[in-house]
């Protein structure tokens, strides 16, 4: 009767063991080690199938002349030719330069804005939680959708951005185009990226600021350290690991930036905002130069892999705090 009332008890050995299916008994007999492998294996298998196998295939392709728009051509192994072509191509270096400029300026701006906001929010004024949530919204949105609607906002004449600028400066709103002008477009992608991701830096810096124990500041007060001195000797050094985390992650993400910029300027005007990912997309999915683009992709992989390595080391360092 007890077994009927408390079916859970049935699992305890000795207390009227019910008949188990064969599968259940087999599972019962599994060692911890077997369970560990059984649990990890599907994830690893999926990643091998979707990431590693294609990657190896791509490495093979990078040594070929495969071009999907001319697949009638016989597949030929060309050795390291693709890599040589890429590394000696001035255009590729130009794209890398464009990308580096974008990464450096956007991350720098995000650090300034994000860290500044974090310092302000850390003052714990009334309602800070509500306003923080509002500020966080952009980074949760789809970068593609963001890039798309900013093209409306930034349109000369009809867009509110140019109109606002002209209200403040008197420059006619149709006299400049944020996305269509060679001198402005590189800054436009930095601006929109900062709008989207400064909150990310802010959130991580805020965690850094909150991890500093109060007693350190109290000790500094006792020693009559100025607010300036406290910032340079306590606040900044103790937030740096967190800042590093944010900077590394943003740098990696922006290095491979595709979606937002593709919709905002699609690499233009001309190729002023053609980041490496956009250029890769053109080579692979418009010109269909699969062999060549595989080689370029591998160069990007190696770069990101190296950066990811440093990132994970920083992650683990922050975790110990």
């Amino acid at each position: 009767m007890t077994t009927i009332l408390q079916p859970d008890h049935a699992t305890i050995p000795g207390v009227s063991e019910p008949v188990k299916s064969r599968a259940a008994r087999r599972v019962h007999g599994l060692s911890d080690r077997a369970i560990a492998w059984l649990f990890v294996a599907p994830t690893i298998a999926l990643l091998l199938a979707i990431n590693i196998f294609p990657l190896i295939w791509m490495i093979r392709l990078s040594f070929t002349n495969l071009n999907l728009s001319m697949s009638y051509l016989p597949l030929r192994f060309v050795g390291l030719d693709n890599f040589r072509d890429i590394l000696t191509d001035e255009d590729v270096w130009f794209r890398l330069q464009t990308t580096a400029q974008f990464v450096i300026s956007s991350v720098a701006l995000q650090v300034v804005v994000g860290f500044g906001l974090a310092l302000l929010i850390n003052r714990q004024f009334r309602g800070h939680s509500f306003w923080t949530t509002i500020i966080l919204l952009p980074m949760m949105l789809s970068p593609a959708v963001v890039g798309n609607f900013w093209t409306l906002l930034l349109q000369p004449q009809i867009g509110p951005f140019n109109y606002l600028i002209s209200l403040f400066t008197g420059v006619p709103p149709s006299s400049f185009s944020m996305t269509g002008q060679v001198s402005l477009a590189p800054w436009t992608i930095v601006l929109v990226d900062t709008w989207m991701w400064a909150p990310y830096v802010m959130l991580i810096c805020l965690a850094g600021l909150r991890s500093i124990p109060d007693y350190i500041y109290e000790a500094a007060e006792v020693d009559r350290a100025s607010a300036w001195r406290q910032f340079w000797s306590i606040t900044l050094p103790m937030t740096v690991p967190f800042l590093m985390l944010a900077v590394l992650f943003r740098a990696i993400e922006n290095f491979k930036m595709f979606d937002m910029v593709n919709l905002l300027t699609s690499g233009g005007p001309g190729s002023t905002t053609e980041l490496v990912s956009i250029s890769l997309k053109r080579a692979a999915f418009e010109k269909w130069r699969t062999g060549y683009s595989s080689a370029l992709a591998i160069i990007l992989f190696v770069t990101v892999f190296g950066a990811a390595n440093i990132y994970v080391k920083t992650l683990n360092k922050v975790k110990q705090r």
Partner: protein, 320 residues
């Protein structure tokens, strides 16, 4: 007591002075308002008529209309006024709205199928990623796995890879397997990307559940699996839910894979929205309407996730 009183009124870093607070608050609110303006502009544009949306100077005050939403959900054809006059009277409010512009509704647009794709692919990949991720995270958290750190790094590094670069071999592979432009293909791909986040996040959550609970259950005669199901999972429910929302947001927002690997059947919302075309270019009210509908769930999730946001964006490393 006097000492305590002076301390709270004087400058203590722990508690900022009211003046500093007001100043900081003012600046933050200013930034928040500037941040939210572009979003509000889009929400407003969705209620503008075509001509109001592209008016110069940009219109802040306008007569709201649902045309944008109607245009989003329908395909229309332009007709002569004579033809429209001969038609039977409009049956619905949206028929009426469209006819005012000398148009007739020809059928539903593709937005609903695209939305459904986003939902199916989003929930499908989230479910799979969280399921696989929970198992793997439990194993990494509780068992000694050889080379665990290297495996975890490998898992995370797959997420860091540039999507355009990953898409090249996936495109070729999917072509061979007939998975191009299928929901299954997209679900598998997003699962692979999400599972890395799920493993890292969930490992953090499970690490926080004291081992003693399970050990007590094991002593009571539970098997490992029963202990996982009846002791660990109930404790990890919040973490699992937060992880699921993060995975869902990723799949929902993803663009690069979607635009490169789907073209019709399995296309999701992000590659679809920019190509909502009216007569003479982008139909901005309809685009804005689609954007609004697309973004609303994200805003809700952000509010829900607020407490776990930091964890989610740092792969579980920063917990506060």
């Amino acid at each position: 007591m006097t000492a305590a009183a002076t301390r709270s009124t004087a400058h203590s870093i722990v508690e900022a002075s009211p003046r500093t607070k007001a100043f900081a608050g003012g600046l933050v609110i200013l930034y928040a308002v500037i941040t939210i303006l572009p979003l509000l502009w889009i929400v407003a544009t969705a209620f503008k008529s075509q001509s109001d949306a592209i008016a110069y100077p940009p219109k802040v005050i306008f007569e709201p209309t649902l045309e944008g939403y109607v245009n989003l959900f329908t395909v229309r054809t332009r007709q002569t006024p004579d033809f429209i006059a001969k038609l039977p009277p409009p049956e619905t409010w949206y028929d009426k709205l469209v006819r005012k512009r000398d148009m007739v509704i020809a059928g539903p647009s593709k937005v609903v199928p695209r939305f459904v794709n986003s939902l199916i692919i989003g929930f499908g990949s989230t479910f799979l990623a969280v399921f696989l991720g929970t198992l793997a995270a439990y194993a990494f958290s509780r068992f000694r796995i050889p080379l665990a750190d290297d495996l975890l790094f490998f898992i995370l590094s797959t997420r860091m890879m540039p999507p355009v670069a990953v898409a090249i071999p996936i495109y070729l592979m999917y072509r061979q397997l007939n998975l191009t432009d299928t929901r299954l293909g997209m679900i598998l791909l997003y699962t692979a990307v999400n599972v890395s986040l799920a493993v890292w996040l969930l490992k953090g959550f499970i690490d926080e559940i004291p081992r003693e609970y399970e050990e007590a259950a094991l002593v009571d005669g539970y098997t490992r699996l029963q202990a996982l199901r009846k002791v660990v999972l109930p404790q990890a429910v919040t973490g699992i839910a937060a992880t699921a929302i993060f995975c869902l947001i990723f799949s929902w927002n993803e663009y690069a894979f979607a635009v490169l690997l789907t073209s019709g059947e399995a296309q999701t919302m992000p590659p679809f929205i920019p190509f909502i075309i009216g007569e003479g270019g982008q139909d901005w009210p309809a685009v804005a309407a689609a954007t609004t509908l697309f973004v609303v769930p994200i805003v809700m999730f952000t509010v829900l996730l607020r407490k776990h946001l930091l964890r989610g964006i740092t792969f579980g490393a920063v917990r506060k």
